[in-house]
């Protein structure tokens, strides 16, 4: 919406002022025990604290502050305390680039943890390349990217979408598919990949319905009844949802009200986690699915410890945890290990040291940074329970390595990312040349 954009820009100064105040307050609480500025290592936090994405990103900012706090209790890194520098890009994509530049040049941060939407990541990419710094990106995304300066700790499509579809096909015997998404780059690319994958598995084009709705869509009556109609063709039908953010709550409410039960038409979602469910009564949704690499309900000693300490840190015994938080947990620990390995925070040294670094995840395995700057993760399918948590009903036998370039798409199936041997993010294995789509 063009109107939306202009409004955002005009409100910039006020938002900045608010962000600065918020940052100051947070800063005061977070580094009250930090020493003088010279013997600290600065860590940038680039998550929206206002605007439409604040709903998701604020928690990630808190997560990094929490992880830094824990690390400082253990004595920091290289004998120095860590110091968080929090900025607020206010859900405004151009402002992300501006704030990233500020973090790297003015605050001289050693590493940045940030971004949620793909468009914000694309907006900061040139800045990180130009100024040669490091970004850890914690959210599941559409793939088709491998950059030297970015480490992707969220799921690539083959670590979330493909296993979820496999589960529905094998366990639920689904024959007919609705790919329902919000109209932007992540759902569109994911659905392109899924469509190609489903067709390769012999699903007829008539049995796939692809549909997009605008951001923040709230009147789901027509869409839901279309799904109902599509699902009454005598074949088992499922909905694969890449609906993002705020639009999910009205969608699930409408599903519940129109009586679409998970036993009839299950919905598997890639953007709905514990945080999103906290705003809905989940009883009508029991049995609908989500695919993630982490669920709060997974019982491992590491996860129980993490949840306990997180709730103590936020002083909120009801605060939930979610998948992108775990991605930050893994990414942060990998960065700490890499810095300790090379005994320096120099970006070039850390970037070279990161591939191969292993760090435990919260679900009982050990994730590894791969040469394509993605990590290995387990994949879980969870069913929504009446209390807003998930019950894991299926998981991959081991960890799945993240593919930067999707094997399903014509343009990217020959590409690999390899920053160790080939020093290239889009190496074409057919032509043996660096460079290709997406460079």
């Amino acid at each position: 919406m063009p109107m939306h954009l202009t409004r955002d820009r005009a409100g910039l100064s006020r938002r900045r002022w608010l962000a600065a105040t918020a940052g100051l307050v947070l800063g005061l609480t977070a580094f009250s025990n930090a020493k003088a500025a010279d013997d600290t290592i600065k860590v940038g936090v680039l998550h929206s604290l206002s605007g439409t994405m604040a709903i998701s990103e604020t928690t990630l900012k808190d997560t990094i502050l929490f992880l830094i706090d824990e690390q400082n209790k253990k004595g920091g890194v290289l004998g120095k305390k860590l110091e968080a520098v929090v900025v607020d890009p206010a859900s405004n994509w151009p402002l992300f680039a501006e704030k990233a530049r500020e973090l790297i040049t003015k605050d001289k941060v050693a590493v940045v943890f940030g971004c949620w939407t793909s468009v914000s990541r694309k907006s900061v990419l040139p800045v990180f390349k130009e100024l040669n710094s490091i970004l850890f990106y914690p959210v599941q995304y559409e793939g088709e990217e491998s950059e030297r300066n970015v480490f992707y700790t969220g799921a690539a499509p083959n670590q979330q979408a493909i296993p979820a579809v496999d589960y529905l096909m094998k366990d639920e015997k689904v024959k007919r598919w609705v790919l329902e998404g919000t109209d932007y780059v992540y759902p569109r690319t994911t659905n392109k990949i899924l469509e190609a994958y489903l067709k390769s598995k012999g699903v007829a084009p008539d049995d796939i319905m692809i549909n997009y709705t605008p951001f923040g869509f709230s009147d789901w009556q027509t869409e839901v009844s279309r799904i109902k109609t599509f699902g009454s063709a005598g074949k088992k039908t499922a909905v694969v949802s890449t609906i993002n953010g705020d639009a999910n709550v009205p969608f699930y409410k409408e599903l519940g009200n129109q009586g679409i039960k998970a036993t009839d038409i299950p919905v598997v979602a890639f953007s709905v986690g514990e945080e999103e469910l906290a705003g809905i009564d989940t009883k009508p949704l029991v049995g609908h699915l989500a695919a993630w690499n982490y669920f709060e309900s997974i019982k491992t000693p590491a996860n129980e410890k993490f949840i306990k300490e997180w709730q103590a840190y936020t002083k909120n015994p009801k605060r939930v945890t979610n998948d992108p938080m775990e991605a930050h947990y893994i990414g942060f620990n990998m960065w700490v290990k890499a810095v300790e390995k090379v005994k320096s925070t120099d970006p070039d040294k850390v970037i070279d040291a990161l591939p191969g670094i292993e760090a435990p995840n919260l679900t009982g395995g050990v994730s590894k940074m791969l040469p394509n700057h993605h990590i290995t993760k387990p994949v879980f399918i969870g069913e929504i329970k009446g209390n807003g948590q998930f019950d894991v009903v299926w998981k991959t036998p081991g960890l799945v390595a993240g593919d930067a370039w999707s094997k399903e798409l014509e343009g990217s199936k020959d590409l690999i990312g390899d920053w160790v041997g080939k020093k290239c993010g889009n190496y074409n294995t057919k032509t043996n040349k660096c460079g290709g789509q997406g460079s």
Binding site: M3, H4, R7, A10, G11, R14, R15, L18, L49, S50, G51, T52, A54, I55, T58, K170, D171, E172, K173, D183, N211, Y212, T213, P214, G216, S218, Q221, T222, E223, S225, K228, T229, G231, S232, A233, G234, K235, D246, V249, P250, K253, E254, G256, N257, Q258, G259, A262, T263, D264, P266, E276, A278, G279, I280, D281, P284, G287, G386, D391, V393
Partner: protein, 536 residues
């Protein structure tokens, strides 16, 4: 592996159940072993246990399976004991029926997945075909209709023979038709009968069963094809009705959001960008009311919305009066500055709410009378949308009556039509300004109560309605409440008829383009005000 077994297994379960229920109860030992399998926390074992329990003929079978469905069945994995928490809170041992004092500490609810939920529903269906409650018998028939396993046929036949209630009879007959149609050795004549029954049922589920048929003799296939096209024809008409209903419902939401703006912008001429935030304040008031009720008076939950309506009006109205007194009254006649000031204000309000309540969505529950749906012919009408439509019309009527029949309404109209003359007649114009703005804001607050039922309660709630609200007011004709009404419903219905054809994204764009073209032709909207007030 279990999936392949499941169909056959369910068949086995049902047939065994029939045999067993007619002859002798199964050995007690088998039943207890079966119940113990619930404690293994493996989906495959749970499936076996359901089969054993459902076929046991044991009087505990029904309590166990229904407890399993409601999540009231717990198991202790260490000592392999299974317990039912009855609806009255009593806990009984599922294997023996003996009363237990309390659940062991490590007992956890037996888990289900979607496949098991279907198995449970099918097992429960066959267990409740003879329930004394007609509603339960219909539900049981429906679950047999859905699973249409051929082994359910004897049970449904005997149930049908003994049934006297007409509604239940027809549900049983439809369930029987579904089973017969999919049974492998049915004669063509019986199949034709079944197709006729399904054709008479005429809904999407019947359509699904008919389209799912394959490899039929030509006579049957022809009958099925003709039944399919007949059902599709009826459904097409119903879908037009459904679109109209969706349009009315979307229109009522648009109207509700815009009606406050029709006062502040339409009547007073203030370009109020903070209008959406008043809606948001109303929604958060609902949240606070529900929170207090949840913690202190849980019994009153169904009345929470009724209580929230006056409170939301007061909260948003008070904030409106405050804004008018402190900011807007200095900016009358300067639209650009009003626009910027109120927009800045909207950001302040958003961030204030974000700081106070956090950036994440807040849960506002639906009272029971607003949950669910009912069928009207072949369309589904959800209660929340129906109530919002009624509520919107009530608010509109009250507002109209207020402007027309009360002293304040008269003063408001006088001031907006000719401020100077109203002042010379002794009307305190600045007081009326404040009250008018407060009224518009208060109504926006009421809208927030209703919108909290269908949308997210988050600091961004208002943003998604502000553009639509302006669109409705401008389209309907500034300064005319009836115009707002007609505008809202026109936009709603047009949107819902475009959406199935063009998709949600294109549909919205098309509507915007149409409005722009319309405004070119009629700059003052659908119902333009005439007379001197227009020029003022």
């Amino acid at each position: 592996m279990v999936a392949q077994v499941s169909g056959r297994f369910r068949a086995l379960v049902l047939s065994a159940f029939l045999v067993v229920s007619l002859s002798l109860p199964a050995l007690a030992g088998d039943f207890e072993d079966g119940v113990a399998k619930f404690a293994n926390d493996e989906f495959s074992d749970t499936e076996e246990a359901i089969g054993i329990v459902a076929t046991s003929g044991n009087p505990l079978a029904f309590p166990i399976i229904s407890a399993l469905q409601d999540g009231r069945l717990s198991a202790d994995p260490d000592i392999k004991k299974v317990y039912i928490t009855r609806e009255d809170g009593k806990i009984i041992d599922a294997a023996t029926g003996g009363v237990v004092d309390k659940l062991p500490d490590n007992a956890a609810a037996v888990r289900l997945n979607n496949r098991l939920r279907r198995t449970v529903a099918a097992a429960l269906g066959s267990l409740t075909l003879t329930s004394p409650d007609p509603a339960k018998r219909i539900a049981a028939a429906q679950s047999v209709f859905k699973s249409h396993e051929e082994n359910a046929l004897p049970a449904i036949n005997s149930a049908l023979a003994n049934e006297t209630n007409r509604a239940v009879r027809s549900a049983f007959a439809e369930a029987r038709a579904a089973v017969v149609l999919y049974k492998s050795d049915t004669s063509d004549a019986e199949k034709l009968d079944a197709i006729a029954t399904l054709r008479a049922r005429g809904d999407q589920e019947a359509l699904a069963l008919l389209t799912g048929l394959s490899d039929q003799p030509p006579l049957v296939a022809r009958a099925a094809a003709s039944a399919i096209s007949s059902i599709q024809g009826t459904l097409a008409i119903w879908s037009a009705v459904q679109n109209a209903w969706y349009g009315l419902s979307l229109g009522s939401v648009l109207l509700l959001a815009a009606i406050g703006l029709a006062i502040t912008f339409g009547v007073m001429g203030v370009i109020n960008m903070a209008h959406g935030e008043m809606v948001m304040l109303g929604a958060y008031t609902t949240f606070v009311v529900q929170e207090i009720i949840r913690t202190s008076y849980p019994g009153l939950f169904d009345y929470s919305l009724l209580m929230a309506v006056p409170l939301a009006f007061i909260v948003a109205g008070a904030v409106g009066v405050l804004i008018e007194r402190t900011i807007i009254r200095f900016l009358y006649g300067r639209p650009l500055e009003t626009l910027l000031a109120t927009w800045g204000l909207s950001l302040v309000l958003q961030q204030a709410v974000r700081t106070a309540f956090g950036p994440t969505n807040r849960e506002v529950g639906n009272p029971t009378w607003m949950s669910g749906a009912f069928e009207l012919g072949q369309i589904t009408i959800t209660y929340n949308r129906l109530w919002i439509l009624c509520f919107t019309m009530a608010v509109f009527a009250i507002l109209l009556a207020m402007l027309r029949y009360t002293a304040l309404g008269l003063e408001m109209r006088a001031v907006t039509q000719n401020r100077r003359m109203a002042a010379s007649m002794g009307i305190a114009t600045s007081r009326v300004d404040a009250l008018t703005f407060g009224l518009g804001s208060g109504i926006a607050g009421i809208a927030g109560v209703a919108l909290s039922q269908i949308d997210n309660v988050s600091p961004n709630l208002g943003q998604s309605y502000i553009i639509d609200s302006f669109m409705v007011v401008v389209f309907g004709g500034v300064g005319n409440l009836w115009g707002t009404l007609v505008g809202a419903f026109t936009l709603g219905i047009a949107n819902k008829f475009l959406e199935p054809v063009a998709g949600a994204v294109l549909g919205k764009i098309a509507i915007l383009v149409l409005i722009i073209l319309f405004i070119q032709k009629r700059p003052r909207g659908l119902f333009a005000l005439k007379g001197r007030a227009v020029e003022a």
